[in-house]
Symmetry: C2
Subunit: 229 residues, 2 copies
């Protein structure tokens, strides 16, 4: 009865596997070992086998995994075997780019609505979508069968929008706004935050340089002996 709680990071990797299997399939690769797939994904092969074991046995011992078959199984697990209806809130530069992001469509994600508070933008078309008034959020959400809200507003309005989406019955939120949001436990939220990733990058570069200049002052020349990878 009590099923094992599967970690988010495992699901994340499943999606990486599926993506790369789709690529291999397109290249007409028919069979792949966990070791080779691990190479492509930048992951440990035991990790892959462990991740898959949460859901069943998909491989053939001594052989590996049939690409088409494993891909099919993963798509079923991830519910990539159907369309998902997205709604965008906040049609700024980023929001507009997401509306026109063709990669989503290939993956089964379709925007069915977009919302703005800016009167100038309401009624305009971006991609295939006519922008709605944010005041009609609840109505349009229900009419269009929106299932997932994509938040591309600023920090200040994000929580209020989330509350309204939750009340309207939305079960998932992809948040691009730089703020931690509150949702009830049967609603799920994922954060996309590239400013933080830039911060991490800059820290790593700086601390690497600090490290090197320290080494250089002790062993002059040592740091300049760069190897190719």
């Amino acid at each position: 009865m009590k099923s094992v709680k599967i970690p988010s990071i495992t699901i994340y990797r499943l999606s990486v596997y599926a993506r790369n299997l789709a690529y291999l399939d397109k290249k007409n690769v028919e069979v792949i070992s966990s070791e080779h797939l691990a190479d492509i994904c930048g992951i440990n092969p035991a990790q892959i086998r462990k991740d898959l074991a949460y859901f069943g046995e998909f491989g053939v011992r001594g052989v590996g995994y049939y690409v088409k078959d494993l891909l099919y199984q993963l798509q079923k697990i991830l519910r990539q075997d159907r369309q998902w209806h997205l709604g965008l809130i906040g049609v700024g530069n980023l929001g507009a780019a997401l509306l026109q992001h063709t990669h989503f469509l290939k993956q089964g994600y379709v925007f069915v609505a977009a919302f703005e508070k800016d009167e100038q933008k309401i009624g305009k078309r971006v991609g295939n979508i006519i922008i709605s008034d944010i005041r009609n959020l609840e109505d349009v959400t229900k009419k269009t069968g929106m299932e997932i809200g994509v938040i591309a507003t600023g920090r200040s309005s994000a929580q209020e929008i989330v509350d309204r989406l939750v009340d309207a019955g939305i079960k998932g939120i992809l948040n691009f706004a730089p703020i931690q949001l509150q949702v009830p436990e049967n609603v799920f939220i994922e954060y996309v935050d590239f400013t933080i990733k830039l911060d991490v990058l800059c820290y790593r570069i700086s601390s690497n340089e600090r490290e090197r200049s320290k080494l250089n002052s002790i062993f002059p020349k040592a740091g300049s002996n760069d190897k190719k990878y």
Copy 2:
């Protein structure tokens, strides 16, 4: 000599703390406890104190942290106390949105160049940047003092571009292309991948529904007894 390796996730959280401290400072909050800050960031208070302890003692026992002071210290650690020069490769919908992303500027990130292979786009202006020919990547990188490459191309060209950026001396890459990239060990890379996040979201929604319908068939009504959070 051998300094403790600080986990990426700690740096990630440091950036979250800094962001929220900046917000608190703007609201004229002067002192904050780890418990309250933890609330805002959606993190355990012991976690915050542990993360900070990697870098020093920034608080006052019995009091908490002075917002302005801690913010200043974090910005110094993260090297947010200077400008960073970004270069964009691939000016599609997403790339163009990033070029015009005003939030970056506030954080000290400035695009100094953008590159395309599409002749139609070369020479056009987006935001403050004139798009360069990708063939001049190495030249323009050096001339503009580009430090970080932001990859917003498709999967197929990403690795080749990374190799050229690395040869041109770039030390950090923010990658939006859906592919695992190879870099030498003194070059750092961060991935932004919102399609995967959508996949995780859909899995969570689906598995939650599967769970609920299972419960409902055993204890009818149980699932409909929704509590507010």
